[in-house]
């Protein structure tokens, strides 16, 4: 057998294997996506179903056996405080993100750049705080919330949520800051800026991608938090989406199923879209924080 023949056969084998691998990849990707999103796809159909269609065990749950209706989704906006919940969630999210950045950025900079002998252990210490779960703290925190007079108010969440977001954000930001060349702030300091000036004028603009990643991540965390929201906030008009929707649309044994499903889709899609958009950046930050020392 000549080497040319052999090479040709090998090439063919690799080509065939390549096509098979691509087909396999597309198949697993489609199956995985469908499994992950199945409940939401179902919600989307359910949200527009008529009661007579939905509450009949014989009806095919995948299709509209009667014409679709938007009554139940409309009910969400006209007869519930859904929009208030959304506004509360946005307010809490934005404020928590601002607090997180205001405290987390300087802390991350100190740990990443101002070489102190204790910065390594301190960074790990701050990361470990992220692992202290709400379920361990919520009882004591609910007493503290009462003590500072924020019980039954959305503001209690603004106060408490940064305890979740700061540790993980510091970790992520450290990764991004370490990746910015040191020359940049040295040059800025040679140009007459102080250390703080160099941080604000030269480093922060370059850390912009990392800051965006942290904003998205912190917002997602606060929007989906459950235990604190459930434990601290009782009045309906103060609730966030994740507690307000289930409380107002489940009355005793009566579930407003279509409206619930509609609310789920309305909340889920925008958050997931934003997160998808920033996924690569977020993953990069995660890696830099863990690997680059």
């Amino acid at each position: 057998m000549t080497t040319a023949e052999e090479a040709g056969r090998l090439r063919q084998r690799y080509a065939r294997r390549h096509v098979l691998a691509r087909v396999g990849l597309y198949l697993t990707a489609i199956v995985a996506a469908l499994i992950c999103a199945a409940p939401f796809l179902w919600s989307l159909i359910t949200a527009f179903k008529q009661n007579r269609d939905l509450y009949n065990p014989q009806n095919n749950p995948f299709v509209f056996n009667r014409p679709p209706t938007s009554d139940h989704v409309g009910y969400l906006f006209t007869d519930t405080e859904f929009l208030t919940f959304v506004a509360n969630t946005l307010l809490v999210g934005v404020l928590v993100v601002l607090i997180t950045l205001a405290l987390g950025l300087p802390a991350a900079y100190a740990l990443a750049r101002l070489d102190r002998p204790w910065s390594g252990p301190m960074a790990i210490g701050i990361f470990l705080v992220y692992l202290v779960p709400p379920s361990l703290l919520f009882l004591a925190l609910s007493r503290i919330v009462v003590a500072v007079g924020l019980q039954d108010s959305t503001w209690s969440l603004v106060l408490i949520y940064p305890t979740i977001t700061i540790p993980v954000s510091v970790w992520l930001l450290m990764g991004f800051l370490k990746n910015i060349p040191k020359d940049i702030e040295e040059q800025a300091m040679v140009d007459g800026y102080s250390r703080v000036g160099a941080f604000v004028r030269a480093v922060l603009p370059l850390a912009y991608p990392g800051i965006i990643a942290v904003v998205v991540f912190a917002f997602t965390l606060t929007a989906s938090e459950f235990i604190y929201a459930l434990a601290f906030v009782a009045p309906t008009d103060q609730m966030s989406v994740s507690i307000g929707v289930p409380t107002q649309l489940v009355r005793g044994d009566v579930f407003f199923w279509q409206s619930l499903q509609g609310a789920t889709v309305l909340v889920a899609v925008p958050i997931a879209l934003v997160f998808t958009w920033f996924l690569d950046r977020f993953v990069a930050g995660f890696t830099m924080g863990a690997v680059k020392e």
């Binding site: 990849l25 597309y26 697993t28 990707a29 995985a32 996506a33 992950c36 999103a37 409940p39 939401f40 065990p57 749950p61 205001a102 405290l103 987390g104 300087p106 802390a107 100190a110 101002l114 470990l128 705080v129 692992l131 779960p133 709400p134 379920s135 361990l136 703290l137 919520f138 009882l139 004591a140 007493r143 503290i144 408490i160 305890t163 700061i166 540790p167 040679v190 929007a223 989906s224 459950f226 235990i227 459930l230 434990a231 994740s242 929707v245 289930p246 579930f255 619930l260 909340v267 889920a268 958050i271 997931a272 879209l273 997160f275 998808t276 996924l279 990069a284 995660f286 863990a290 690997v291």
Partner: protein, 312 residues
């Protein structure tokens, strides 16, 4: 060139440098202090408080503090529901963790791959994790409904169930536990995938290529390169999953509220039920405190895994 600039700048900058270096120490503290104070006040203090509550008679109605020693612990230990919740927590965590790691690795490979429509697949996969858990669990509540469950409908179509039969997914002890685990795994797997994706991207491509050039076959590369390199990251993902699972109560709370007959009660949900719903803060604190030793162990393991990543 270098020597020229050195001679020009060094006399002027040397004292300035030292002053800057002196200030760096202060600055580092100034930058860190707000975060440290915040965390100490709202994580450290409540943590100590939680321990103090465990030895007290504090209730929601009577917040005055009286030390009662180990009485709360005794009461908790004599409660069969506590032992049940503890056992459930372990079952819930162990099974979920294995599934989350295995499925997370599969998902990570998909998320990392390059193909058409990648963003749509990523979007659909991430939905499960980015959606507030209370809402996504409610979607599942409908899928697992006792009468109208679409899953039952499918089973009936395939003939696995009789015409008017239902599974009662959340009404039977074993099945309800399985349901809670499935929903939880479904929700956390995308997060594990994202963590592992980060780890996979950190592995230098040339190692695999070098091995390929050296003639190492698929399985050899798998066992001698890919698995050892992925293992620390998989460990981090597993421990994150374990911690989030061990301390989670959202899925249980929404789907079953611990029922039927406390069959799906876990430590966190039982602590919430006792401490907030029942107002017995002291007992809730004792139950929640049992989460801590295991968290500590998990944290130590995470750190060791992270260190191995760094060493590489």
């Amino acid at each position: 060139m270098a020597t020229a600039t050195d001679t020009v700048t060094s006399p002027a900058t040397a004292p300035a440098r030292r002053r800057l270096a002196d200030r760096d120490g202060l600055l580092a503290w100034g930058f860190l202090l707000p975060s440290i104070v915040y965390i100490a006040a709202l994580v450290g203090v409540p943590f100590v408080l939680a321990i103090a509550f465990a030895f007290s008679d504090v209730t929601a109605g009577d917040p005055s503090y009286d030390f009662v020693g180990f009485r709360n612990f005794e009461r908790v230990f004599h409660d069969p529901v506590f032992w049940r919740a503890l056992g459930n927590t372990f079952v819930f965590t162990l099974i979920s963790m294995v599934l989350i790691v295995v499925l997370g690795k599969v998902l990570a490979n998909i998320l990392i791959a390059d193909f058409r429509g990648k963003w749509l697949v990523r979007f659909l996969v991430l939905l499960a994790w980015t959606t507030p858990v209370a809402l996504s669990s409610i979607s599942w509540l409908w899928l697992l409904d006792s009468i109208y469950s679409p899953i039952d409908w499918m089973l009936r179509q395939f003939g696995a169930l009789g015409p008017a039969e239902n599974m009662y997914w959340l009404g039977q002890p074993g099945l309800s536990m399985a349901s809670v685990i499935v929903v939880h795994v479904w929700r956390l797997t995308p997060l594990a995938a994202v963590i592992m994706m980060a780890g996979l991207m950190a592995i230098p491509k040339d190692i695999d290529e070098a091995a390929r050039v050296d003639g190492a076959g698929y399985w050899r590369r798998m066992f001698e390169i890919t698995i050892p390199l992925v293992l620390p990251v998989a460990a981090v993902a597993a421990l994150f999953g374990a911690i989030f699972t061990f301390t989670d109560m959202a899925v249980v709370r929404v789907l079953t509220r611990g029922g039927p007959n406390d069959a799906t009660q876990v430590l966190a949900s039982w602590a919430f039920y006792r401490g907030i719903d029942g107002g017995d803060v002291a007992q809730g604190a004792v139950i929640a405190l049992f989460l801590f030793p295991l968290l500590l162990a998990a944290a130590v393991l995470i750190l060791r895994a992270v260190r191995r990543i760094e060493v590489r």
